[in-house]
Symmetry: C2
Subunit: 293 residues, 2 copies
């Protein structure tokens, strides 16, 4: 059973699709609350090299980003730790405090246990803003936008894996302010964060919205001029926001936004997500991180 | 840093004590919701022997029990899995379905990943009933009660560890109906579930309530006549409810309860929790399961 089939089978255990969003979005929604849960495991998601600040920051970022992707405001955290002998618990508390202060989160619960491999299991609870953003909702004619240049997470990770003492890929931040803004303003039709890669995540919006999406190669190259476009499309764990905007609202939305964002493509009738440039026309679903499971 | 100091340090990261209950209770409380998070790890909390039904049932029970201990009703579950190669994912779905059906839970989210050791990280969300039950609140003169005879979880676990193909210690059930009843009726002054052992859990009520508690040896022996009293006091993961009742409400509470429960001691002014019998007078804090962390 591959990951896809496993998730399809899990969906049969979800009765109330209004809450679970059919396990197809970044988080679950319970009345006014948005809840996300994520696991990070040593030697699967990170390499432990005494870099607790980095690891904890990334674990928290990954969950906060899920709340931002739904236009919510992250507020509470429950932290579960599987702690191996080598983890300095005092240092762990300090690292957790840094991440919680950065994102203004309040610790409200959790669990710890001994474990051979270090792992982190986080539940983040946020509150909804005016609009709940989902992957579904993109309409023909919408513009698809990204909150910042992407592709660098992959580059920095490769630098770490090649043995350089490189921690930049742990330090990407969740787009908390922009997520909150998008959840409070009219005209945003769908949203997700880039966790698996721009190619796969764009495809997920196209599928959920039942629309066709073109990403424009020239726009992407302009944003990340020093990176091959294949890397831009396949770089995961970026935590940039990817969202579609009704063009009638675009100017106003951009003008008042807490940060600049960038148009990288268009939504039309049809299905599938494609890279479109002068020289290429390719399915986007092949670009991105497919889980090992 | 031992477990106690670690949890004390974590408390400094909890700002809103109304929500976290200072990390001192069985779950956190967010408006109308009660949220509990628990991790179970292979070779720490269970031994994997193809017994997925048992393991998943126990993992879910442990979390549902936390909600019952607060007088709430468990409703939603987010399931995180660290899956090693040997886990049959189809079987895992079936096992999860059995547990969710048993407790009438709706799956609303989660996360899965590859992991060397199998582990389960569960977040359960319940709703509050009329009264929120905490460990604090016991008053002098209250009766302390247990929802069923205890001590057998330890006995069954030892049978498994001695090599018998014994799974009974996985099959204890959470007291969902009684928990809901206690949360809806007047006179219950404190409550927890027996997860670390009757001795330690009674002590936790005494400390949180700033009162002294006597457990009566003769009452305990009558309930579990075939077990040594030391085992009755130290058997963990029982998931029975342990609660104190204002004696003015006792008769009425017992008469209408969905199941019989049993008086095992009294609350008086003072501090500490003690076993009191014809032959013994001992501190209860030494009886129970202290975590390896």
């Amino acid at each position: 059973m591959n990951e896809f089939d496993f998730i399809e089978a899990l969906k049969t255990l979800s009765k109330n699709k209004d809450i679970s969003l059919n396990l197809s979005d970044d988080a679950a929604v319970l009345n006014n609350y948005i809840i996300s849960k994520d696991i990070l495991i040593e030697d699967v998601h990170f390499i432990y090299r005494q870099n607790l600040d980095d690891i904890i920051f990334k674990a928290v970022t990954s969950n906060v980003s899920d709340i931002a992707a739904m236009g919510g405001t992250a507020k509470y955290i429950m932290a579960g730790f599987g702690l191996s002998q080598k983890i300095d618990k005092k240092k762990l508390i300090d690292s957790l405090k840094i991440a919680l202060d950065f994102y203004n989160l309040d610790l409200i619960g959790g669990d710890t246990s001994y474990s051979d491999k270090f792992f982190i299991s986080i539940t983040i609870i946020g509150t909804k803003n005016k609009y709940l953003l989902k992957r579904s909702g993109a309409k023909a004619g919408d513009l698809i936008c990204v909150s910042r240049p992407v592709g660098y997470a992959k580059k920095y990770l490769e630098e770490e894996l090649s043995g350089k003492n490189e921690n930049r890929h742990y330090r990407f931040t969740a787009e908390t302010k922009l997520g909150e803004y998008l959840g409070n303003n009219e005209g945003v039709t769908s949203c997700t964060d880039i966790s698996d890669g721009l190619g796969i995540d764009t495809t997920s919006i196209a599928i959920a919205s039942n629309k066709k999406i073109f990403l424009l190669g020239e726009n992407l190259s302009e944003l990340s001029p020093d990176l091959p476009i294949d890397d831009v499309l396949s770089s995961g764990e970026e935590y940039a926001l990817l969202f579609t905007v009704n063009p009638l609202y675009f100017d106003n939305l951009l003008k008042n936004a807490p940060k600049k964002f960038h148009v990288i493509g268009v939504v039309i009738e049809g299905e599938g997500a494609y890279l479109l440039s002068e020289k290429r026309y390719e399915r986007l679903s092949k670009f991105g991180f497919t889980h090992k499971l």
